[in-house]
């Protein structure tokens, strides 16, 4: 025992003046300051570091996955938008068959309702357009001396290159006369040129398609934009050449050459729907479709409608994934409630004591509620950081540019705080309602 009775009884001057301080009546504001509530919460959370961290983990994972998935969705949507916009401006795509209502089984890939005559009729309409180009597509193998490659063959006219913003890296494009005559020439996409000729010069070389020689007259600049069917993997030939070299180039009735698509660029964005309507009317008339509701046997898409459809799909997918991730946030919240209930039980005596020295029920309620919210908010912020990291890693890996939006940040953090409040209120109420006598006696 460090203090003996003798020193106690000889009441030192320091003790006497201290006693004066203690026995002066005091006045307080009557309510606990926020800084004290926060301090108490942090103290008790830090006292059980491992437990607090494990409890937060549910929220961390939940928030991180919500943030990361929303960032990926946003990135995917942006990349789709930029890819589609890079094709050209104010474009309309006409394809055979009805793509709007039926499943992919009846899609225009197999339909053969659009013919080269339709293209010529559209040209003759004198529409307010920058240009129009037909194309037929087919698969084939190009054979070069050193290598061969399966490519997507596009038979078209020179306008196609302009409409699609395709530019040459070297050589020339075929001209309208060559397109008309079916000259044996080919313009290669950048990947095709690289795969067939490596770093060597492709222009001027000869490749063979089904044994027939084709002269390489041009190579395109790489267009980029991965995904399926990149333009860099195509080989472009005069449309007449492709029509004559392949067997399946006739429409269903066998009378006309078919086309896989017709692309046109409207001069003024305001005219797009008007042009679309006039083309639809023309094609219905040409295809002898009754005006009594017979479905179109062709489809016209505008660039904008494709864009908005794709963005709707990405948006739905993102929302769905984020909702699934949100479930883990919910599970995290249950974890918080669980640990807060344990904590209330463990600290029953402490609660009793706090009440005995003057804490009101609402003081105890706030203390435990703030603890739960601190848990979930800290978890939310850590989760946010983790989500940012995931998004950054994905971006650095080059798959796509994931971007964390302010919306997803506020959504995730707001949700985390909400979870803390929602799941913290019940344990906090239990604590607040404890009877101080029972609580003090609790073993």
């Amino acid at each position: 025992m460090a203090i003996n009775l003798a020193t106690l009884k000889s009441n030192t001057p320091a003790e006497r003046s201290s006693a004066e301080i203690v026995f002066t009546p005091l006045a307080g504001s009557g309510s606990v300051s926020w800084s004290e509530i926060a301090r108490t919460a942090f103290d008790s959370l830090l006292a059980n570091r491992v437990r607090s961290f494990l409890t937060m983990l549910g929220v961390i994972i939940g928030v991180a996955s919500v943030v990361a998935l929303m960032a990926l969705g946003e990135g995917a949507s942006k990349s789709i938008t930029s890819q589609i916009q890079s094709i050209g401006t104010n474009l309309l795509f006409i394809s055979p068959g009805q793509l709007n209502n039926r499943g992919p089984g009846s899609s225009g890939v197999t339909a053969q309702t659009l013919s080269i005559d339709d293209y010529q009729a559209i040209q003759a309409l004198n529409l307010p357009i920058n240009g129009v180009a037909p194309s037929v597509q087919n698969g084939g193998t190009l054979v070069a001396p050193a290598a061969d490659k399966n490519v997507s063959i596009v038979g078209t006219t020179p306008a196609y290159f302009t409409l699609n913003n395709l530019t040459l890296k070297g050589g020339t494009l075929f001209d309208s006369a060559q397109a008309q005559d079916g000259a044996p020439v080919v313009v290669l996409g950048s990947n095709v040129a690289r795969d067939l000729f490596g770093s060597g010069e492709a222009v001027g070389q000869t490749v063979r398609l089904n044994g027939q020689p084709l002269r390489v007259i041009g190579v395109l600049e790489p267009k980029g934009g991965g995904g399926f069917g990149s333009i860099d993997d195509n080989a472009f030939m005069p449309i007449t050449y492709v029509q004559q070299r392949f067997a399946n180039m006739r429409t269903a009735d066998g009378n006309r050459y078919r086309v896989s698509s017709i692309i046109l660029s409207v001069t003024n964005a305001n005219d797009i729907s008007g042009v679309q309507g006039r083309i639809a009317a023309l094609l219905r008339e040409r295809h002898h479709l009754n005006s009594d509701g017979t479905e179109d046997d062709f489809s016209i898409f505008s660039q904008e409608s494709i864009l908005s459809t794709l963005n709707t799909i990405t948006g739905l997918l993102t929302a769905f994934l984020a909702a699934v991730a949100g479930i883990s946030l919910l599970v995290g919240g249950i974890g918080i409630m669980n640990i807060m209930l344990v904590s209330v039980t463990e600290r029953t005596r402490e609660i009793g004591l706090r009440k005995a020295v003057g804490a009101r029920g609402q003081d105890i309620l706030m203390q435990f509620l703030v603890e739960a919210v601190v848990l979930s908010l800290t978890g939310g912020l850590l989760g946010l950081a983790l989500g940012f990291m995931i998004a950054t890693v994905v971006t650095l890996s080059g798959v796509l540019t994931a971007s964390v939006t302010p919306l997803s940040v506020s959504l995730a953090v707001g949700f985390a705080v909400g979870v803390g409040l929602f799941f913290g209120i019940y344990p906090a109420q239990r604590a607040a309602k404890l009877n101080p006598i029972d609580a003090l006696r609790y073993e």
Binding site: A2, I3, L5, E36, D43, E350, A356, V357, G358, D363
Partner: protein, 228 residues
């Protein structure tokens, strides 16, 4: 300071009514050092809980420092506890991870006393009980007697009207018990602090100047004595 009249407390245990307190009346003046004695089951703990405003009586009145407090609600009782009462428990009931200073500050926190003033008062209260050198120690670094001193400092820090000590020496050896009781005695004599001590030991009750004896929920004797 304390006036209770005809105080009763009845519990319902299952179907049976238990009369823990059966019409108890007494008056305690300001500056008295009173011991409430009695064997277990005598109702002294129930009386202590009522005096401590931790519980409300079934009937009767309790006037503390001029205020009728027997029919107050929870929030009002909390305020009375914070402003008028200081508790000392058998098991000290210190917050284990907090320093002595922080423990002593606790009642002041709930009264909304600002940081500087709180610090000053808590330090002074620790000085008064001879713990001025150990304000940064945590309970597990202190002996039982030292912990109980911190608990007394905590009871003092809010400048209470009455200190209620419930078996304050129940967990201490004789020598340390004497030290603790000396502190209470000194506060009572020098500062005029009203002290109510609950115990079942005559040796401990001997430090008081007046002994109220309880049995079966009733007050059976009320004797003045010369304190030890």
């Amino acid at each position: 300071m304390i006036t209770i009249e005809n105080l009763t407390k009845t519990y319902l245990m299952g179907d049976v009514q238990v009369h823990a307190l059966n019409g108890v009346s007494f008056h305690i003046n300001k500056g008295e050092f009173v011991a409430i004695m009695g064997p277990s089951g005598s109702g002294k703990s129930t009386l202590m809980n009522l005096l401590g405003c931790l519980d409300t009586p079934t009937s009767g009145t309790y006037t503390l420092d001029g205020h009728e407090v027997s029919q107050l609600d929870d929030v009002e009782l909390s305020a009375v506890r914070a402003e008028k009462l200081g508790f000392v428990f058998q098991q000290y009931n210190l917050l284990p991870r907090q320093t002595a200073l922080r423990n002593v500050e606790l009642p002041l926190i709930y009264r909304g006393v600002s940081g500087g003033e709180r610090h000053r008062r808590a330090k002074a209260a620790l000085q008064v009980v001879g713990m001025g050198e150990r304000i940064e120690h945590r309970p597990n670094e202190l002996s039982g007697g030292q912990q109980q001193r911190v608990a007394i400092a905590r009871a003092l820090s809010g400048s209470p009207s009455v200190i209620l000590a419930d078996e304050p020496t129940g967990a201490l050896d004789t020598k340390t018990s004497a030290e603790i009781l000396n502190i209470l005695q000194r506060l009572n004599r020098e500062q005029g602090l009203t002290v109510v001590l609950v115990t079942h030991e005559h040796d401990i009750a001997a430090y008081a100047e007046r002994v109220l004896a309880m049995r079966d929920g009733e007050l059976v004797s009320d004797d003045k004595q010369t304190p030890r």
